[in-house]
Subunit: 220 residues, 4 copies
C-alpha cells in the first residue's frame, strides 16, 4: 500500500510536470528591449516580480537588437522568434522607424510601417503565437508636445492602436502611459531623466514602469 501511494505520487508529479509546460515569452524589439535584457532591465524585473509572486509559469527571453526598425524584425523572425516556439511575443518597435527619419534619413514610411507590422503578425498568427503589441513610448520627455518628433510618434502610435483594435490584440499603450507619467512627474518639462536616460532609453524608473505594464498584460 505504501509503495502504491509512492508510485501514485510519482505518476501525479510526472503528469503535473509534463502538462504544466512553462509559457515561453519573447520580447521582440530594438535597443530598448535589448537593454531590457540587461541587469536592471524590464525583462529581469518582470522575472523577479513573477518569482516574488511564486509564479513559475513563464520563461522570458529578450530578442532586441539596437537600431532595429519594423522591417528588421520581419527579416529575423524565423531565426529569433519562430524557431524558438514562443507562446507569447511582446512586440515593442517603432522608435527607430520615426527617429531615424531625422537622425539619418532612414526612417520608415507610415504605410510601410503598417504593412510590415501586419506581415509580422501574420507569421505569428499562422503559428498560433499570441502577440502583445506596444506603442513606442517617447523620443524626448517634454510633456507639452514640443519634442521634435512628437507628431510622428503620436501618428505611429495611432497606427499600432488601429492594428490592435482591428486584430483584437492586447495593447500596451506605452506612449499614453509615459505621457501621463511625464505630465505628473516632469514639472520642469525636461527632455530626459524622468523615465529615460537620454529621451529614448529607459532609466531605472522607466524599466520598472514598463515591467509592471508588461507583466500585467502577460498575466491577463
Amino acid at each position: 500500500m505504501k509503495l502504491f501511494l509512492v508510485l501514485l505520487l510519482l505518476v501525479l508529479l510526472t503528469a503535473f510536470g509534463t502538462t504544466q509546460k512553462k509559457k515561453r515569452v519573447i520580447f521582440f524589439g530594438d535597443s530598448i528591449t535589448q537593454a531590457g535584457a540587461n541587469a536592471g532591465g524590464f525583462i529581469g524585473k518582470i522575472d523577479s516580480m513573477l518569482k516574488k509572486n511564486n509564479n513559475d509559469n513563464y520563461e522570458l527571453s529578450g530578442a532586441g537588437i539596437s537600431g532595429n526598425k519594423v522591417y528588421d524584425l520581419y527579416l529575423r523572425m524565423e531565426d529569433d522568434v519562430l524557431n524558438k516556439n514562443p507562446d507569447i511575443v511582446v512586440i515593442y518597435i517603432g522608435v527607430n522607424d520615426v527617429w531615424h527619419k531625422r537622425t539619418s534619413g532612414t526612417g520608415t514610411d507610415a504605410d510601410k510601417f503598417e504593412k510590415f507590422y501586419y506581415a509580422i503578425l501574420k507569421k505569428l498568427a499562422d503559428k498560433n503565437i499570441k502577440a502583445i503589441v506596444c506603442t513606442p513610448a517617447v523620443i524626448g520627455e517634454k510633456n507639452d508636445y514640443t519634442n521634435e518628433q512628437d507628431g510622428e510618434i503620436n501618428r505611429y502610435s495611432n497606427i499600432i492602436r488601429g492594428i490592435a483594435v482591428k486584430n483584437n490584440l492586447p495593447l500596451i499603450d506605452l506612449r499614453k502611459i509615459f505621457l501621463a507619467y511625464d505630465v505628473k512627474n516632469n514639472p520642469e518639462n525636461k527632455d530626459r531623466g524622468i523615465l529615460t536616460k537620454d529621451g529614448v532609453h529607459l532609466n531605472e524608473t522607466g524599466n520598472q514602469l514598463v515591467a509592471e505594464e508588461m507583466m500585467r498584460m502577460i498575466l491577463k
Copy 2:
C-alpha cells in the same frame, strides 16, 4: 478780425487734418503673407474691415515672399521694410524654418531662429518701429498632435512667445488660435481644409480669422 481768426483756425485744422499722417503697416513674412496681399487675402480683408468702420488711419502693405525663413527677412529688411518707413511691422515667419527641415533639409536651427529674430527686432527698435509678432499657425490641421512636425512648430512657437514676453511685444498667437479653432471645427481630424487649403496656406476662412486677429492687435 474775429472772422480772420476763425478762418485761420479752419486753415490750421485742415492743415492738421492733412498732416495727420496715416500709420503705415507692413506685413513681413513668407508665402502666407505674400498670398495675404492677393485678392481675398488677409491684408485686403483688414483694409475692408477698417474702411467699413470708417477708419482711415492705416495704410497697409504686404512684404511676403514665398519660401522665406527668418534669415531671408533679415537679409531684405533694408529694402523691403526700413526704407519704407513703416510705423508698425507685423512679423509672421517660422513655417518654412520648420517645414523645410523635412522637405529639403534646409530648415533653421532653433538657436539661430531666435538669433535672427532678435536681429530683426533690434533693427526695428533702432528706428522706433513697432513690431507685432505672430507664432506660425500650422503645418497640417489635425488636432490630436499627430501632424508630422507638430512638435517642432510648437517648439518654435514657444521661442516666439518667449521673445514676445522678454521684449514686451504684442503677440498674435496664431498657433494657439488655429489649434483651438481646429479642435472645435475639425471633427473628422482632417489634415487640411478647415483654415488652410493644403495644411499650410490659408483658405478663405483662415484669411478671415487671421485678418480679425491682426486687426484687433493693430488697433490696440
Copy 3:
C-alpha cells in the same frame, strides 16, 4: 521505311518542342521596372528584340512596384517571384533606398541595404533561381558629379558590385553605363532628358539602352 523515318522525326520534334520549356524571366524592382512593363518599356523592347531574332525561348514578365526599396522586394518575394517559378530574376533596385533619404527621410541604411539584398539572393539561390543584379543608374544626369546624391548612388552601386563579385553573379552595371553615356551625350550637363524623363525614370532612349544591356546578359 521512309514513312517510318518521317514519323520518327515528327515524334522527336514534338518531344523536343514540349520538353524545351521557355525560360521564365522576372524583372524585379521599383517604378523604373514597373514602367519597363508598360508600352515602350524595356521589357517589351527585350521581347521585341528576341522575337526579331526568332528567339522564342524566353517568357518575360515585370514585377516592379513604384516606391519599392530593397526590403519591399524582400517582403513580396514569395507572392511576386518565388510562387511563379522563374528561371532568372533580374533585380533592379536601389534608387529609392538612396533617393528617399532626401525626399522623405525614409531611405535605407547602407548596411541594411546589403543585408536585405543578401536575404533576397539567398531565397533565390535556395530555389536554384539565377539572379542577375543591376546597379542603380542615376538620380540626376549631370555628368560632373554635382547631382545631389551622386556620392550615395556611387556608394550603393559599390555595394552591389561587391555582392556580385562575392557571389559570382552576373552584373549589369547601369550606373557605369549611364555615366559613360551621359559624359558623351550630355554636353550641356543637363540633369535630365538624356536617358531619363525626370532624372530618374527612363525615357525612350534609356529604355532602349537598358533593354540592350539586359538582353545581352540574359542571353549569356
Copy 4:
C-alpha cells in the same frame, strides 16, 4: 646742402616706413577657420612662414565660429569684420551649408547660399575690402566620389567658382586641391586621416596645405 638733402631723404624714408601700415587680413569662416586660429592651425602657419621670409607686412586674425553657414557670416559681418577695417578677407564657408542638410535638416538652399554670398561680397566691396574666396574642401576624403555628400559639395563649389569668375575674385579652390591630393595620397580610399582628422576638420597636413595655398594667394 647735399647733406641736408640726404638727411631729408632719410627722414622721409623713415616716415614712409612707419606709415606703411601692415595689411590686415581676416579669415572669416566656420569651425575649420576657428581651429585655424588655434596652435598648429593654418593661420599660425601662414604667420610663421611670413616671418621666416622676413615679411612683416601682414597682420592676420581669425574670425571663425563653429557651425557657421553663409548667413551666419552675413549676420556678424559688422561686428567681426567691417568694424576691424581689414584690407583682405579670406572667406572660407560652405561645409555646414551642405553638411547640416544631412546631420540636422538645416543646411542652406543652393540659391540662398549664392544670394547671401553675394550680400557678403557687396558689403566688402562697398568698403573697398579685398575678398579672397575658397571652395569647401571635403566632407569625407574618399577619392572615388562615394562620400555621401560629394554631389552637393561639388555643386556648392561650382557656385563659388561661378561667383569668383563673375566678380573677378581670387579663388582658392580647396575642393580641387584636396581631391587631387587625396587621389595621390589616399590609396586605401579612407574617408579621413589624409588631410583631415574626421573627414571635415584639418589635421596637421591639411592645415599646412591650406596655409600654403592661402599665403600664396594673399601675397599675389
